[in-house]
C-alpha cells in the first residue's frame, strides 16, 4: 500500500498528461478558487487587526501603564523634606522601578492648559508631584499609601495603573482575538478545500476507476488531483490577498499619534505579512487534497 512520495515541487512543475485526466469541472474549480479568495481576503483583515492591535498594546504597555503619581501638598517649608522622605520610602518599596520628583518646568507644562503660560508657579501652593514607574510585577498600592501616610502626611498616591491596566489587558485580548480569527480562517480554508477535494474525488469516481482499470498507479491519479487543487487554491488566495491588500491601502493612512482606531492597517514591514497567505493556503490545499485522494484511492482496486 506504499505510494511513491511526491512533493510540492513535482506538483508545481506538473505533468501535462496526468493533468488532462482530471475533468475540468467548472463548478468545483470556481468553488475552490472562490473559497480560497474569500478566505485570503478575510485573512488579510485579520492580520491587519492583530498587527494594529499588537502595536497598540505595545505602546500602551510602555507609555501609559506602570506609572503612578504621588502628590505632596504641604506648607511651603515642608515640601522638600517630605519629598525626600517619599523618595526614600519608594526606594525601599518592592515593585517600584524608579521614582523622581518633577521639576518646576515639568509641573508648569502640566498646568499650562489650566492657567496659561504666565502662571507664577513659585508663588502658588502647587503640590510637588513625584512620578513612580512600576516594575513588571507592580506594587501594592494600599500598602504604599499607608507607609506614605506615616512618613509624609501630605503625600497622596494617585495610582493611574488602576484604570490603565484594563486597557492594556483589553488590547492584548484583542490581539489574541486577531490570532484566533486567523486560526479560524486557516482551519475553515483547510476544511473547505478538504471537503471540496473529497467531493471532487467522489464526483470523479468514474474517472478514477477507469484510470485504475487501464493500469494507472495511485500516485499518477493523486498527483493530477492534488496539482489541480493546489494550483486553484494558490490562484484564488493570490486574488483574495491582492484584493484585501488593495482595500487596506485604500483606507486613509493611520496617524500613529491618534491611537489604535485610525491606525488600523499595516505599517512598515507588516505589509509583507499578507505575502505569506497564498503559499500557506496552497500548502493547506496540497496536504488536504493529498490525504483525501490517497484515502479514497485505497477504497478502489
Amino acid at each position: 500500500m506504499k505510494v511513491t512520495r511526491f512533493g510540492i515541487f513535482t506538483v508545481l512543475i506538473g505533468d501535462r498528461r496526468a493533468d488532462r485526466v482530471v475533468p475540468p469541472s467548472r463548478g468545483m474549480a470556481r468553488l475552490t478558487e472562490f473559497s480560497a479568495a474569500a478566505m485570503a481576503f478575510l485573512a488579510v483583515f485579520a492580520i491587519a487587526l492583530s498587527s494594529a492591535t499588537g502595536r497598540l498594546a505595545d505602546r500602551w504597555a510602555s507609555e501609559l501603564a506602570r506609572t503612578a503619581t504621588i502628590r505632596i501638598s504641604a506648607p511651603p517649608g515642608q515640601v522638600e523634606e517630605q519629598t525626600r522622605r517619599v523618595l526614600e520610602v519608594l526606594a525601599t518599596t518592592p515593585g517600584v522601578g524608579s521614582a523622581r520628583a518633577l521639576t518646576a518646568e515639568e509641573q508648569r507644562a502640566l498646568l499650562e492648559p489650566w492657567f496659561g503660560p504666565d502662571l507664577p508657579i513659585a508663588a502658588l501652593p502647587v503640590p510637588q508631584l513625584v512620578e513612580v514607574v512600576e516594575t513588571g510585577a507592580g506594587f501594592d498600592s494600599d500598602g504604599l499609601q499607608l507607609r506614605l501616610r506615616g512618613e509624609a502626611p501630605g503625600a497622596i498616591l494617585d495610582d493611574h495603573t488602576r484604570w490603565r491596566r484594563p486597557l492594556v489587558q483589553a488590547a492584548d485580548r484583542l490581539r489574541w482575538l486577531g490570532f484566533f480569527v486567523m486560526g479560524l480562517i486557516s482551519l475553515t480554508t483547510g476544511a473547505i478545500i478538504t471537503l471540496a477535494a473529497q467531493a471532487a474525488m467522489a464526483a470523479n469516481e468514474k474517472v478514477i476507476r477507469t484510470l485504475r482499470l487501464v493500469g494507472a498507479r495511485d500516485v499518477f491519479i493523486a498527483r493530477a488531483f492534488v496539482r489541480r487543487f493546489t494550483v486553484r487554491t494558490f490562484l484564488g488566495a493570490c486574488i483574495g490577498t491582492g484584493l484585501g491588500v488593495g482595500v487596506m491601502s485604500l483606507l486613509p493612512p493611520g496617524d500613529a499619534d491618534q491611537g489604535f482606531l485610525t491606525g488600523f492597517g499595516f505599517s512598515g514591514t507588516d505589509w509583507l505579512l499578507p505575502l505569506l497567505v497564498p503559499p500557506l493556503a496552497a500548502a493547506v490545499a496540497f496536504w488536504s487534497t493529498r490525504i483525501a485522494a490517497l484515502r479514497r484511492l485505497k477504497g478502489l482496486t
Binding site: R17, V21, R212, V214, G215, A216, D218
Partner: protein, 226 residues
Amino acid sequence: MIELEDISYSYGKGPDLLSGVSLSLSPGGFYFLTGPSGAGKSTFLKLCYGELIAPKGTVSLFGRDVRDMTRDDIARLRRRIGVVHQDCQFVDHLSVTENIAMPITAAGQDPGAATRDIKELLAWIGLSAKADALPPHLSGGERQRVALARAVIMSPDVIIADEPTGNVDWEMSLRLMRLLTELNRMGKTIVLATHDLTLIRTMKQQVSARVLRIKDSRVALAGADL
C-alpha cells in the same frame, strides 16, 4: 498465465456466486465464457484481472499470487492485461483518441508514438470519423468498439472482454472477432464473456476456442452440447 485454485466468491453476505473453482488458462488460448445473466461471468473476469480479490483460494496472474501484490503491482499488472469492462468505462471529457491512448499515458509513456496504431484501429472498427468525439456522444455500439480498441492498443499478453458485442450488429461483431483472432494468432490469450451462442458457434469453426460455462456456481468446460 491465469491460474485459479479453489476459488470461492460472494458479494457481501450473499450466497456463494462461485465456489471451489479451479482453473488454469494457458497462454495463447482463446476462451469463451458463457452462462445465464447473473451467473457470475463478470465476477469471474474481475477475479482474473485483480479488480476483485477472492477471500478463499488463490488467483495467480503471470505466476504471482494477487494477494501478495501491492496496489502499484496491480497497476503494473493491468498494463499486461487489456480489459473491456461490461460498462465500457471512459474518461468522459477526453476524446476517443485520448481514451484509446489512456493505457499508454497511464504507463507513463508518450501516447504520441501510438498515433498511427490508433488510426489503424479506428479504421478497422469503423470509427475514423469519431476520433475526436467525446465518449458520451457515441452510440452504445460505438462505445463498445472504442473500449475494445483501448484494451488492445498496448498489445497486452492477455485480453479480457466482457460482452464486447452486446450492442453491435452481426457484421461488426464478426469484424471485432477477426481482430481478436488475429491477436490470438500472435500469441495473446483471449478471454471473452458473451451470452451470444450463435457467435460462439460461428467462432469455434475458425479458431480452436474453448468454451467455459458458468452454472450453479461452478465453471466447467462445455463440450459438444453447446
